[in-house]
Amino acid sequence: MSESPQAGRRAFLGATAAASAAGLGFVALAPGVQLIKFAAAKTGAEGASGKVRWGMLIDTTRCATGCKECVSACATENAIEPGSGRPGQSSQWIRKIELKEQKTGREISLPMMCQHCAEPPCVDVCPTGASFKRADGIVLVDRHICIGCRYCMMACPYKARSFVHEPLTQQNPEVPRGKGCVESCTLCVHRVDKGQQPACVEACAKSGHEAMLFGDLNDSNSEISKRIASTATSQVRADLRLDPGVRYQGV
């Protein structure tokens, strides 16, 4: 092999290669260095009690077709407004689904939102750990470490999550949201932590339908536990064995 001496070019290439290698090396090694933290995984649950499991029971026989009190209350509480883009790009933390049984024609109306699974697929697939489940069963997104990859939206069987497609204004300070992050029903965690009910449940009761019941599934004396123990209720897509915290009656 005959290599002609071109010292200048070599030095330049050498310097460029060294700089690139240092940069690439950092990017390649950073994840490896983080493996050290692997042993000390976060609990992500300080402040919430593992003795409680918050849940909801929805009585579809009392839920009225066309009534959207829960949806409006959620939008007001969490400052969710329709975006400027196409309707499909707006966030929907809770929605009303109208069902018609194909064999019999029986019609059912019900609210659908994050089901706060005990085994949430969104938490499994989230690369950074931004999707997490509190000790009390509430599934949330940590807005500080969500990178907006949307893998959780692909994984959620309930289509419960929305991606913020554009800059937001007029936010509720207690409910931080932001462009480029994924979000979903928080079970009004900011209210629950103050001993209040989620906004949708309160609105449903106020409208007189009382189709939504919120409470502690772990407490056998809570109203929700008693109802679940005495009436036939079901979990949506129970076949997936995710153990959702939201139960439905009359489906």
Binding site: L24, P31, L99, M112, P127, G129, R150, Y158, L240
Partner: protein, 401 residues
């Protein structure tokens, strides 16, 4: 080592070289412009929404990442399976693999809602997530293939080439398993949830990567005025035909498996029969252009460079079509929350979702191709990665007709 007899040379910078570099650079700039538009306005300016959460950037990025793994075929065949004829081409194979991976990964990262938080993706990990594992598989790919390239071109390190080649071979099979598993582990989406997706992606990667390698080799040959010997071309074209046939076989098995489960009949009917554009892209793009046409072109008697190149372009188009059907088609089919019920809502429950990619997201994706092309073009210009001659005598001194 066999390639000590082969001289490697930079390719000369002539008019054609700079024209190609400028063209690829222009696409790269357009991609960068598209990214800044998306970064500024948000995904509201794209065709993506809460129903179609992954769009054109993912289609192109995953194609490039899968092809990157396959681009290593030629190097692996030389180092792992000892085919000396491919040894002089192994550095180009490794270079292309690195470039395609860089292009695909860049697009994937720039399509994030918060691409400014890259450091979080590299420092916060949930090890149950296939995405988090992929961060390690992708960064490791750069390290291992980079080291492999070094052992090939640094004479003192030549004795480690086989070891590095085996490591790179195992790593890229794992990597493509990880890429296929991104979809395979989505329990609720009827179009996915199949363990077959991982091996399917591996076999498809062989075809996509080899096709892109042949296109790169032909371009480098034309730009440097070094004609390719027909012996290596014939072998590579036959190898490519085998990969295409293998891919078609696994696609057939994948759909037959799905058809065996009654619950999957709806989504299969959607993809195969009445999915409109998805069905068209599947049959015309993936099967006809990406499978049948290249097989005919590659296996017909006689061989011309043009015919091989046409087959390679068809395989690339078919590969993009396959990713479109997998990613877009899989999301277009609605989730079935209440089996046995017809559902409707303000959030498009029970409806087939449509997707119309915008110009910005398409340009962002094409920018990934441009990154790979610019990297290969500059590397071949300044580094000695391409043999001085590509004729039969150089590549395979013991070759007999």
């Amino acid at each position: 080592m066999a390639n000590t007899a082969v001289t490697f040379r930079e390719i000369p910078g002539k008019g054609g070289f700079y024209a190609l570099l400028a063209a690829c650079g222009a696409v790269l700039l357009l991609g960068a412009y598209a990214y800044f538009q998306m970064e500024h306005h948000g995904h509201v300016i794209t065709g993506m929404d809460n129903q179609m959460v992954w769009g054109m950037p993912h289609v192109i990025a995953l194609f490039l990442i899968v092809a990157a793994s396959g681009a290593l075929n030629v190097a692996s065949t030389a180092s792992v399976f000892g085919k000396t004829i491919y040894k002089p081409l192994a550095p180009l194979s490794a270079l292309l693999a690195l470039a395609l991976m860089a292009g695909g990964l860049t697009v994937l990262m720039l399509d994030l809602g918060r691409s400014d938080r890259m450091i979080i993706a590299a420092t916060h990990f949930n090890f149950k997530s296939v995405f988090a594992l992929n961060v390690f598989l992708y960064t490791g790919f750069f390290t291992i293939v980079g080291a492999y390239l070094w052992t090939m071109r640094e004479r003192r390190m030549n004795r480690w080439t086989t070891t590095a080649g085996v490591a790179a071979f195992i790593w890229r099979l794992t990597l493509t398993t990880g890429t296929g598993s991104v979809f395979g582990f989505l329990v609720a989406r009827e179009a996915y949830q199949s363990a077959l997706l991982a091996p399917l992606f591996i076999v498809l990667s062989f075809a996509y990567g080899t096709a892109l390698f042949l296109l790169t080799l032909a371009a480098a040959s034309a730009l440097s005025g070094r004609p390719i010997g027909d012996a290596v071309l014939r072998r590579l074209k036959n190898l490519l035909a085998t990969f295409v046939a293998g891919g078609l076989y696994l696609v057939v098995v994948f759909h037959l498996t799905n058809l065996y489960f009654t619950r999957n009949h709806g989504v299969e009917q959607f993809v195969l029969l009445d999915g409109g554009i998805i069905t068209g892209v599947f049959w015309i793009g993936q099967i006809l252009i990406g499978g049948v046409l290249p097989l005919l072109l590659l296996l017909a008697p006689g061989m011309t460079l043009n015919r091989i190149m046409t087959a390679c372009v068809a395989i690339v188009i078919g590969g993009l079509a396959q990713m479109y059907v997998t990613i877009i088609g899989g999301q277009a089919w609605p989730l079935d929350l209440f089996p046995g019920y017809a559902a409707r809502s303000s959030f498009f429950d029970g409806e087939i979702h449509n997707y119309a990619p915008s110009l910005v997201e398409t340009l962002l994706g094409l920018g990934g191709f441009a990154i790979a092309a610019v990297m290969v073009i500059i590397a071949l210009k300044v580094l000695r990665l391409l043999p001085e001659k590509l004729d039969n005598l150089t590549l395979d001194p013991h070759h007999s007709k």
